[in-house]
Amino acid sequence: MTQRLLPISIFAALMAVIPLIPGMPPFWIVLLNNIGLAALVAMGLVLLTGVGGLTSFGQAAFCGFGAYTTAVLTTAYGMSPWLTLPLSLLVSGGAAVLLGLVTVRLSGHYLPLGTIAWGIGLFYLFSKLEFLGRNDGITGIPPLAIGTLKMLDAGTIYYAIWVAVLISALLSMNLLDSRTGRAIRALRRGHVAAEAFGVQTPRAKLLVFIYAAMLAGLSGWLYAHFQRAANPTPFGAHAGIEYLFIAVVGGAGYVWGAVLGAGIVVILKEILQSYLPLLFRGEGQLETIVFGILLVLLLQLAPTGVWPWLMGRLPFKPFRKRPDTSLALAARDRPAAAPGALLKIDHARKQFGGVIAVNDVSFEVQAREIVALIGPNGAGKSTTFNLITGVLTASGGTISVNGRNIDNAPPQEVAKLGIARTFQHVKLVPDMSVLENVAIGAHLRGHAGAISSMLRLDRTDEAKLLAEAARQIERVGLSDQIDQLAGSLSLGQQRIVEIARALCVDPILLLLDEPAAGLRHMEKQRLAALLRTLRDGGMSVLLVEHDMGFVMDLADRIVVLDFGTKIAEGTPGAIKTNPDVIKAYLGAVA
């Protein structure tokens, strides 16, 4: 606990004494206020863009929602500023729900373009609406007050702003270091892997979108009471771009990068605005030229930002606590010897346009059985996997698990039934530790939500998830690598991490897509031994593999596909001598 809070406490104490230093120029306090306000918005962007991979150029508009809400309510209706705070957050969060429902559905580059579009649209809306004062905005907003203390000058509202920054940073870090946080962090690497373990990716995206918007709304609310006025200019498209710039400068993946980036950019802007006009004949906005050039240079030379660079230079390494493996999660209810096959595939079919990738394939996997799916490249093995796990919807046929029909069920539902998988092309989050990656596998076995995570009420739940992850890592023999970043492991080890992650589901059926590829001989033997142990413990395994020695040794039964069609099925011994199989692999004998 202290390990985590010590640096923050020191920072908070430092920030608290700054305005008390005698002779501190008031202008510097104003700058610090601006840094705090920008840091709040950038922090939301860190979660949204750096962590969640959703680029938004429109965050300034959410500041506008926050600022205008309090401006209208305090000036026209005489409400107390403290009462308008929840309303400001509600309005910006509500706007985020509406825009988010549209925006998070956008794929790839349509997303940032969409945010540019509504960013500009909302800016014009702010500047044209009569009750928002059009271009002139709203003035005469009352200051914040506690009792008789009115926060009129920069030195007092300074505390309100920086308390907000510190609390937000703490909540954001808590959120990232939790079950929900792992789901958000997995988003940037695409949705397929996360969904295979039960993460509702659209919901996770919307959540982080709303959170970022509310941080921006908070910044806007503070801004309105700091400036005591609100007009459209600070909420336009260029402000939105500047916030993204701040996040990129600081380090888009790091909560404190937002604060650092805000400091760098706000101070740099100030310096540029005061000195550039002396160098050139001064006609405003010269700093944007330098900003633009710096942004490009930064992307070319240091795309990860200043914060990680700074942290890499620290003499000590951040402390990591080993999870207590004595804690256990409740095991899955296993139906006692259900009649019929565990997995039954009946005339499954998948067409991509004119190509039939899987052509009426039928086979079964029994309980406690290792079945191998083999066939030459392009035979439809991985497509079959994707049909079973709900990544692709079948064009025909039925797939059932324990007698329950699962065709067209989304991946999350399939995962709930106890079907876990690995991927042919490893899908781990490279900048997360092995432990965190594996813990994603246990996503469905935890229950803590975003708010309890932010408030750290999720610790018992979280400790159990991490304990389970640590146990599975130990089981696959990667305990020494538990704290390493997944991206730093060899490809073979990454495949083993994927197996550990799948085991965290507590599956009844394990689907392994080429698990032995990239493994050394000894590692393959260890993997085979592990899979046998799992089978003897009651699990079924369906695996796709090209290493024939491995397959023949391990599998109880083999299904052979060629050009999407099942050409043979049987024991390893029978398959080895099957003429059709030999023909498919080696070609016809002339």
Binding site: I120, Y124, N135, I289, G292
Partner: protein, 383 residues
């Protein structure tokens, strides 16, 4: 007479009507209460106006599609090509020396430095000579020519040619300096870099051309009337050039080997390189074409409407909306979409002039959603 709509930071004058007819009442904010009734004549004017703006948006949309298809760059600075082209042309027409010529030289020097640095392990005389010719001699020659011709009361055609040359050089160097070093990165990184380039170029635009708006001389003073509608030579030129570019690009990409090579680069850079396509050259050609198209659009509209240093951004974004409706891949669809955007804009400036921009920019959202649903992201991109 143009309809002027008050805007933030100066006034953005719409590309409305042909510059002759006083229809100011439709959008004059002081007379908002009395809304003129839409009759056939006004409707025809609006349609004609929408098509003229739409044609410009179509040109820009085409350039955006072209650049995206080849380099995966979403070209936000396209608007600056428009402004630079228009204001360079307008400045030359007044007999002054445009700052953009100087910018081309500076960017050329930086590009030369990058070329030398990138090739530092294998420097040979021919390579240096070529880099010197493209990056130093070319912009210096353009600068010298401009300097020599400025103030000589040159004919319009010469001014147009000079403006196009200057902006083309800037476009070429922009690719070399900003995007070529990032060519291997994700669409998102390229987009952020693109926004950075936009900021820098727009700031430079303010330095070069000042905060005042400018107008340029018309390409042709010819005009004729069909029924109630009046067609100027300028608007005919807009239509003709747009159609020529659409057909030309469509043929180029569909039929020529080089066009196909450019498309191959777009799909898979590594694959294209393996079959011998020089991906850098493809990017340079795309940017060259885009900057020429952008500058030409600017030159076409600057006689009709006053352009400010930051006007291009908004015009470019409207081209974007068209390009996105076309899915960033289809040229004919982009052209049709641009006409729709222009017409919607013309009609919304008639009915709700205050909310014109809001309407035009919100138009994009349902389109984006439909696009995303129609082509869901198959799998993530590595960053």
């Amino acid at each position: 007479m143009l309809c002027t709509i008050p805007n933030i930071g100066g006034s953005f004058q719409l590309l409305l009507f042909d510059g002759q007819r006083p229809l100011k009442a439709t959008t004059d904010p002081t007379r908002e209460g009395e809304r003129p009734v839409l009759n056939t004549t006004i409707m025809l004017f609006l349609v004609q106006d929408g098509i003229t703006s739409g044609a410009i948006y179509a040109l820009l949309g085409l350039a955006l599609v072209l650049v995206f298809a080849v380099t995966r760059v979403i070209l936000i600075p396209q608007g600056e090509f428009v402004t630079f082209g228009a204001l360079t042309y307008a400045t030359l027409s007044t007999g002054n020396m445009p700052g953009t010529a100087w910018l081309a030289v500076v960017m050329g020097v930086v590009a030369f430095g990058l070329d030398l640095f990138a090739g530092r392990r294998a420097l040979h005389l021919r390579g240096i000579g070529r880099a010197l010719a493209v990056n130093i001699l070319l912009p210096v020659a353009i600068y010298a020519l401009t300097f020599w011709l400025a103030g000589k009361n040159t004919p319009i055609a010469v001014n147009i040619a000079l403006s196009l040359l200057i902006v083309a050089a800037i476009g070429l160097f922009l690719y070399r300096i900003v995007f070529q070093p990032l060519a291997h990165t994700s669409v998102l990184v390229l987009l952020i870099a693109s926004v950075g380039a936009h900021l820098a170029l727009q700031g430079l635009g303010l330095v070069f051309f000042g905060a005042e708006g400018q107008r340029g001389p018309a390409i042709s003073d010819a005009a004729f009337t069909v029924g109630a509608l009046r067609f100027t030579g300028q608007s005919i030129a807009v239509y003709a050039i747009t159609i020529a570019f659409i057909v030309g690009l469509w043929l180029f990409f569909g039929l020529t080997l080089y066009g196909k090579a450019l498309r191959a680069t777009a799909v898979n850079r590594l694959g294209a390189r393996l079959v011998g396509i020089r991906t850098t050259l493809s990017g340079q050609i795309a940017f060259l074409l885009a900057s020429v198209i952008g500058a030409l659009s600017g030159i076409l509209i600057v006689p009709i409407t006053t352009l400010y240093y930051d006007t291009g951004f908004l015009i470019g974004l409207k081209g974007f909306i068209a390009a996105i409706i076309g899915g960033l891949v289809s040229y004919p669809l982009t052209a049709v979409a641009a006409l729709v955007v222009g017409t919607v804009e013309a009609f919304s400036s008639f009915y709700a002039s205050n909310f014109k921009e809001v309407i035009v920019f919100t138009l994009i959202l349902p389109v984006l959603v439909l696009r995303s649903l129609a082509a869901p992201e198959v799998e993530e991109e590595k960053d």
